[in-house]
């Protein structure tokens, strides 16, 4: 029965396509105002309405149908007035697919000195003139409404998960719930934009569970797990994701914020998460690093200077795909080495490759889930990455918890 597998809300529908028979991994279709996207998905981050040198056309050709913009950056440049005048971020950047925006709160904390969080909102000093400014849940919603993102995130009270201050952690979690209520009240376009809640609670599983219950009661169309990827141990990260996905409803998308290393993605998918974002793949590209199934290769190393193979053998991206194929560029490692950190073109090429890698990894995982061979896919993935089978213990433990034994031969 379709209704048992589909969830619909005014600006979103979520269809569960398949479930792994061993792990908690799921394959689904998320339909948003700018088209449908296949989950699980990695979302590249176009911080300032541009994916680091790629045209929207090139980004779309990688298969990307949902990317991120950062509310904080767009609020500064071009600013809310311009966004309103232009008609939103889709129109600004010529991107007719989906956009997800964060709340702006994370950048306040990560980028700014003297950010001060009160019940009212986040107080910080303007990076323009140093004058005191205040970001409230209402202001964040108003900015995201101007951006017109397909998925908006609530403003949350973020503190580092490793903070030992339990009372502060509880305060942050409870305040995030209160701020969600204010966000829901302030959201002007619930019929065209989706607002996702963010589960907080640090590394305390009970607090996370409590937060889940509170947030679920608000019935947002999608759910994010926040506050992670801030330097906590990977074991802790996996425990939190597992504890949350256990409580979350089947028929809503689950987004783990700030995750991007391929191992993290695969483990998180096994733990039942659907959506991920991270600047790492595109940032590391600009540092001359290529992500491959055998690990990260630094193209600036002399060993690639006369290497005329593709960035990664067997990769289907426009840089690497066999030269006979349509749209293939015939890029060699030697050319990337030649221009890495010298010409922007090398950064663009590696960005293209890395985004393709991440999206293709999720495509592969999705196919494996649908064909119910996901555990084999996970083993193959880790086998490629660690040919000596020296797997990281956090991954072994986390996967064991959902029924995959990496060490079993």
């Amino acid at each position: 029965m379709a209704s048992n597998k589909t969830f619909t809300s005014p600006a979103l529908s979520f269809e569960l396509v398949a479930r792994c028979s061993v792990t908690r991994a799921r394959a689904s279709i998320l339909t948003l105002p700018h088209g449908s996207v296949n989950l699980p998905i990695f979302m590249p981050v176009a911080t300032q309405a541009s994916l680091k040198g790629l045209t929207p056309e090139q980004l779309e050709a990688t298969g990307c149908r949902l990317c991120l913009n950062n509310t904080y950056h767009l609020g500064l440049k071009p600013g809310q007035e311009v966004l309103d005048a232009v008609g939103g971020a889709h129109k600004l950047q010529g991107w007719n697919r989906n956009i997800l925006t964060d709340s702006g709160g994370f950048q306040m904390v990560s980028l700014l000195k003297l950010a001060n969080i009160t019940e009212e909102g986040v107080r910080f000093l303007s990076p323009h003139d140093g004058s005191p400014m205040l970001l409230t849940p209402e202001h964040s919603m108003s900015l995201q409404n101007s951006i017109g993102s397909d998925i908006m995130m609530q403003l949350d009270d973020v503190i580092v998960t490793t903070s030992p201050d339990k009372a502060r952690m509880r305060e942050a979690m409870e305040r995030s719930v209160r701020w969600l209520d204010r966000c829901i009240a302030a959201h002007k376009n619930p019929h065209t934009q989706n607002l996702f809640c963010i589960i907080q609670g640090g590394l305390d599983l009970d607090m996370r569970r409590e937060c889940c219950r509170e947030m679920l009661a608000r019935d947002t169309p999608g759910i994010a797990i926040g506050g992670l990827s801030g330097g906590e141990a990977k074991d802790d990260f996996c425990r939190v994701v597992a504890a949350c996905t256990e409580l979350l409803p089947d028929l809503k998308p689950r987004y783990v914020m700030g995750i991007g290393y391929p191992e993290d993605l695969i483990v998180s998918v096994a733990l039942g998460a659907d959506m991920f974002d991270c600047v790492w793949p595109t940032r590391t590209a600009r540092f001359g690093n290529a992500i491959t199934k055998h690990g990260v290769l630094n193209m600036k190393r002399e060993m690639y200077a006369a290497d005329f193979g593709p960035i990664e053998d067997g990769c289907g991206c426009p840089c690497c795909r066999p030269i006979e194929e349509e749209g293939a560029m015939g890029i060699t490692r030697a050319f990337v080495h030649h221009n890495a950190a010298k010409e922007t073109v090398a950064a663009h090429l590696l960005t293209l490759h890395n985004v393709w890698y991440q999206l293709d990894l999720m495509r592969g995982a999705r196919e494996a889930i649908i064909e119910d061979r996901f555990p084999g896919f996970v083993r193959g993935f880790f086998g490629n990455l660690y040919p000596d089978r020296n797997y990281p213990s956090w991954a072994v433990d986390a996967l064991k918890g959902v029924g995959i034994d990496l060490l079993e031969s």
């Binding site: 309405a49 680091k52 071009p78 129109k91 950047q93 002399e302 030269i323 560029m329 030649h338 010409e343």
Partner: protein
């Protein structure tokens, strides 16, 4: 019938003059320059200028899709650096294997689309002047790891290995703005002459018909000093078919050339003189240049400028332009009313007046940047220093120059009124003499492009980082320091 209505053919190249000069001597002409396996080029036309084998900011897939550029200028000095730890290595480009899609090493290494005609010369344009000077058997080049010596032999073997479609043999150039004294000028001519003899005798040793066409340099010194060298070209190498074209460093020599060596008239002429504006281009076309390498396009894109000129100029060019497309109105003072009536050659997209403009970069332009995006986006990208801004400007600026040349060719082919001369005169009256400065921050300066000469140049970009509590300017990003970083030699 004049001499330049003949055609010039060689094994790999064909240059047809479709419409020659109507009067004797050098003048504008229309032609078609074609190389085996490449997209033919209608002339007058231009080629893109690469940096380290790439058209700046444009990936090869977009060169194919969004640039109408039929040729690319490449400098050998961009490929032969010797990293300190690997000083003995063979430059990797010499080992690049060819494929069915990239049939020369140069195309293969740079992933330049196969349809693009490649031009190989020793030095970038504009070239960084070398403090070391040239010797009787070598020139000094500037690589990303510093100055190094390039011998005539090395250059010859590079050309043989890379098989560019056009090769410019070494010339003894100073790359300085100061005119060489007559003694130096004489030596330039003598050395270049000797090098040319060596070049052609070496090339004739290789048995197979050469795939590379030689465009001999014409030096930027007076004809009377280099006449012996030029007559040798006409008498010894033209009849053998070894000489395929001329690389012109000073187009003002073309009338002398026509007068004294009419045999050279059928050869295609490539201008490497770095004309700074379209006004200069039109003047050089009138003197008889066929193909231009135009480094200013890359520089203007980096400066946040969108080219806005067309040829012939719009009919209503004497009425003031709409406020949004005028860059002079924001810089011009009340006293400069007359210049305000001139059309700008380019629009500074960093100006706040474009912040919410959904207009194309220039009206009626059909390039990717103008059809898929708008001024507001490029303005935002420049303000945010996002690399896509420079990419979109490159696409647009190459498209504008491309249609400028199409307009020039149409005017030259037009037998009735208005003539090319009329249109060129109107162009000079309609447009401002220079490009605007461009207030946007530039991409990070890369060491091999610039070299501090004398030092003390101001920094173009704001320092990316300052001291924590404000003392701005005391500490700055080293990489912004023009040129200093990678000068090793």
């Amino acid at each position: 019938m004049t001499a330049d209505t003949q055609n010039s053919d060689s094994a790999a190249m064909r240059f047809e003059i479709l419409k020659g000069a109507l009067k004797d001597g050098v003048a504008a002409r229309v032609g078609r320059l074609a190389f085996a396996g490449r997209q033919p080029m209608e002339t007058p036309n231009f080629i893109a200028t690469t940096s380290r084998g790439a058209i700046p900011h444009i990936t090869p897939d977009n060169v194919n899709k969004h640039l109408q550029t039929a040729g690319a200028y490449m400098a050998l000095e961009d490929f032969i650096e010797r990293p300190q730890q690997y000083a003995k290595r063979t430059p990797p480009i010499y080992e690049a294997p060819t494929t069915t899609k990239h049939t020369t090493r140069l195309h293969r290494f740079t992933a330049m689309p196969q349809s693009v005609t490649t031009v190989l010369a020793a030095r970038r344009i504009p070239a960084v002047p070398s403090p070391m000077g040239n010797t009787n058997a070598s020139i000094s080049v500037f690589t990303s790891t510093g100055f190094q010596v390039l011998t005539t032999k090395e250059y010859l073997s590079a050309v043989e290995a890379l098989t560019p479609d056009i090769a410019i043999p070494l010339a003894d150039l100073t790359h300085s703005t100061i005119t060489p004294n007559s003694k130096r000028a004489l030596r330039m001519a003598e050395r270049t002459d000797e090098w040319m003899v060596e070049w052609f005798s070496s090339l004739s040793e290789s048995t197979s018909p050469p795939r590379t066409s030689t465009f001999a340099p014409v030096l930027p010194i007076s004809y009377s000093i280099q006449w012996e060298y030029i007559s040798r070209l006409a008498e010894d190498y033209l009849p053998t078919g070894q000489l395929s074209g001329l690389a012109i460093y000073d187009p003002d020599l073309l009338p002398d050339l026509a007068e004294h060596c009419p045999d050279l008239l059928p050869l295609p002429r490539l201008s490497l003189s770095n004309p700074p504006t379209p006004h200069h281009i039109l003047r050089q076309i009138a003197l008889g240049v066929d193909v231009f390498a135009l480094p200013f396009i890359n520089a203007l894109s980096d400066a946040g400028l969108a080219l806005s000129f067309s040829f012939p100029p719009p009919a209503s060019s004497l009425s003031p332009p709409p406020p949004s497309s005028s860059s002079s109105s924001e810089t011009g003072t009340e006293g400069e009313r007359t210049t305000n009536k001139l059309l700008p050659l380019a629009i500074d997209l960093s100006h706040p007046s474009h912040a919410t403009s959904l207009a194309p970069l220039s009206p009626g332009c059909t390039c990717y940047a103008c059809t898929a995006h708008h001024r507001a986006f490029v303005h935002h990208l420049l303000a945010a220093r996002e690399m896509l801004g420079w990419m979109l400007l490159q696409v647009h600026n190459h498209a504008v120059v491309s249609s400028f040349f199409a307009g020039v060719r149409a005017a030259l082919l037009n037998d009735g009124e208005p003539t090319f001369d009329d249109a060129a005169r109107r162009f000079a009256l309609a447009y401002e003499p220079d490009f605007p400065e461009g207030a946007a921050e530039r991409p990070r300066a890369r060491g091999y492009q610039y070299k501090s000469v004398g030092g003390g140049e101001p920094k173009r970009n704001k320092p990316a980082w300052g001291k924590l509590e404000g003392e701005e300017g005391t500490k700055s990003d080293e990489s912004e320091q023009v040129g200093e970083k990678s000068v090793g030699a």
